[in-house]
Structure formats: structure tokens, C-alpha cells
Symmetry: D2
Subunit: 138 residues, 4 copies
């Protein structure tokens, strides 16, 4: 079961990523091997055509798996992404985007998570990613 | 052969992505099916441990292929990324990062590019990505 | 809703892929935007250490999305894979493997599916893939 | 520099993968952090439309990186693929296919390789893959 609450993870992100790109994401749900993270809408993430940018969605995907992982192993700031694969499925509306992450492997050295991304208030998936993290030895 | 120069592409990016995340990237080289793009160092891209963030490298990878593509087909702002895969190989130093993109397919509807990313002044690759773009019909 | 039954798809595969690598896969379930396909155990798929080979799992992932797609659009033999990403999570036992595919995008030209792979009789995921298919114009 | 020759690797594959899917691949070149592997044409790899199958190309991509890796670290049969990403660029002719692999990372626990795939006698790339291997502790 998770070792940290959503509030604790929110606080951890705020103190460790003070200059993170754009508005701070919010940890909304922490569950067993899972997390839900919100990237608030900001016009810096807009692209021509009025959609949320791909890099904003990649930032969200990366963060949602990071949060799900920290929820399980505790605050290990130095866990690093080793690979990320994302498919952009539909143009996301200019609104908050929500990343729902689920760990599909939590090993000693490696964790793999899968993320479904939605525009706020919609149940149509706008992007899907898989992300691999390397876990540093204690 | 390319339809736009590095300077023209620089100007296109500046006028179409005024609020793009972080400091503006610079188009340094445009060649046949290829481009080189620089992401200037900014502390907003730093992560715990003093390395450049993964999302910053993904932004660079995505942009380098976009620029290589626009170089070939001209300024089509609505080309959109359909998928991106990246492997993070080494921790990048807190310095500018350079993305060297090469198109390995340029079809009517789809383009695929491959990007090697280096820290400025080093010839050791820090990340490698493949990016697919959908090209809108004229 | 699906346009073909599991039996019809089984027959279609048998007549169109007579020389497909290894023992024929079996279509077990067809549902709305989803399919379940079984790759029977065969020692040609074994690897040193007694696990099922990576290429066998990739064949299964590719086929499961193909079957889910044909279920929705009917027998279009010329749909072709444009990209595949797979994470191998655990060593699969020397047994049948089951691929459970779900389409997360079904556009006019492109379909994207996600596949979870299990060893027969186990609910622990051994691999996870995303697969993109290009759909030929009619 | 490589620890094994192309002939030694060929022999190693033959004795460790006796039942490998389809006709045996041939190791043609071993170089520093690189390898070239040939998958002989066989009609079992054909698909409707007369092209070489995607799974055959994935098998080749996986094997070419495996061979480049073994060339550097010696015969470690239990190195396992942890992820593979492939883009299919053009329909390969019904002919031998050649995979040219290059290691872009060779760490203690993980290796990452990049593979360009060509039809025999052509210099147009038909597919491009990146493959990650986990290296077992000695």
C-alpha cells in the first residue's frame, strides 16, 4: 500500500521542483500502485490551433508515473526516467489535463508505469504513455 | 532540398510559439532531411542532482524533428506529433542541449524523425528519440 | 460494435496467413474495440532459461491489435503496423500466452491499440505493448 | 573493442537458439559497439501483399542488438530484452533483410541499441528500432 498521501506528495513536489516548467501539477489521488495528477491549464502550454502542447502532456505523463512510484517507495528524489513512449490520440481542448497512472511493474531497480491522459471533464482519452523509471540503490 | 533557411525557421517559431515553454530554442542548422536545434540552459529545466530535466529533452526532441520537417515542407504550423519514444542514456550536465534530427521517412501523411541529443561541447549522447508527425492535407 | 465474430476472424487468419511464424494463434474473444488472442506454447518459442521469447510476445501483441481492429472494420488484410512499443515486465513461464487488446483510437487512417499480455492461468502481466496500424483507404 | 568475432557469435547463436523462429540469422559484421545481422528470406515471413512481416523485422532488430551487446560483453545468454520500439517505414521487398545495430549506451546493468533495417541490396531504410537489454550481474 502507498507510503505517502496525496498531500505529502504535493508538498514533496513543491519543495523539490520549485522551478519546474510551468504551473505546478497537483497530486489528486494516490492509490495502491496508482496515482492521478492534474496539470492546470496555462496559455504557455497552448499550441497553434488552440490545443494543449505535446510537451505539456509528456511532462504530465512523466510526473504521474513519478508520483505513483514515490507513493509506493517513499520520497526518493533521484529516481530517474529511463524511457518514455507516448501516443497522441486526439487534440486536447484548452483545459486542465488529468494523468491517470498505474504501475505495471515495481522491481528493485526498475519501475514501469502506464498513463492514460484525459481533458478535464471528458472521458475520451487524448494520449497514452508508458514510462520507465530507474530506482537508485538505497 | 530544404525550402526554408535556419533564420526563416527561427522567425517562424518565434511568431507561432510566443508562449512556448521556457527559453526559446534556436535553429542552428537546416540541411536536407535534417536539422540541429539548441535548447539554451535555464534553471527552470534543472532537476534535483543538477541535471537537465527529461521533459526539457523531450521538448527539444519534438522540436528538432518539427524543424527538420518544416524545413522540407515549408511552414505548416498544424503538423502534429502523433508519437514520441525517448531513451534517456546519461544525466545531462547543466548546460545547453543540442538536438540533431534526421528524417528517416517523409511521406505524404506521415513523417518519422530520429534525434540524437548532446550536451553542448560534448560528443557523448545523453538521449535518443524517435518522433512521428502527422502532416495535414493541403 | 464488432463486424466479425471470433470464429470468422479465426478463419480469416487461417486463410490469409498460412505460413505465419509458428503455431497459429487463436482468436478467443471479440468485443467492442477489444480482442483476446492466444499464442499456443511451442518449444520453438523457448529461450535459454526456459521462458517464452520476446519475439513471440511481439508477434502476439501485433496480432491481438490486428484482430481487434479487423473486428471493428471487417477483413482488410492490408492494414499494416506502423509502430510497436513493448515493455517486457517479467519472464513468462513456458506456457500459452494471452494478449488482451483494446483499441484506444480508431480513426479513418490510423488505429492505436494497447495490449496486456499474460501467461495462461496467471493474472500477473508479463508484457505490455502499444501498437499503431495504418488503415488503407477503401 | 569486441570480445567475440562474427564467427564465434554465429556459433553461439546456433548452439543456444536451436529452435529459434524461422531460418537462422547470420552474423555478418562485428565492430566496436556495433553489429550487422542478416535474416534470410523465407516464405514463412511473407505477408499478404508480398512484403516481409513485421514480426520478422522485430526478431531481426532484437537479435542485432543482442549480437552487438554480446560482441562487447562476451557470451551471456541470459541478457534479456526489457523494451523495444520500432517504426515501420516502408514495405520491405520479399528478400533478405539486414539489421545494422549500434549500441548507444553500454552500462553495467542496461544497454541501449539502435537498429536500422534495410532490404538486401537497397540503401533505403525499411524500419528503425531502439532496443533495451538488461545485463545480468556476473
Amino acid at each position: 500500500m502507498p507510503k505517502m498521501t496525496a498531500d505529502e506528495l504535493d508538498g514533496f513536489l513543491r519543495s523539490n521542483f520549485p522551478d519546474r516548467e510551468g504551473p505546478l501539477m497537483r497530486v489528486e489521488v494516490i492509490d495502491d500502485m496508482a496515482a492521478e495528477v492534474r496539470l492546470p491549464y496555462h496559455e504557455m502550454h497552448l499550441r497553434p490551433g488552440g490545443t494543449m502542447s505535446g510537451p505539456a502532456l509528456m511532462l504530465l505523463a512523466d510526473s504521474a508515473v513519478y508520483v505513483a512510484l514515490l507513493g509506493m517507495i517513499g520520497p526518493v528524489a533521484l529516481a530517474v526516467t529511463t524511457s518514455l513512449n507516448i501516443n497522441f490520440l486526439r487534440k486536447p481542448a484548452p483545459a486542465d489535463v488529468i494523468g491517470k497512472a498505474r504501475l505495471i511493474k515495481l522491481g528493485k531497480n526498475l519501475a514501469v508505469g502506464e498513463v492514460s491522459i484525459y481533458s478535464d471533464g471528458s472521458d475520451t482519452m487524448v494520449a497514452h504513455a508508458t514510462v520507465t523509471y530507474s530506482i537508485p540503490p538505497k
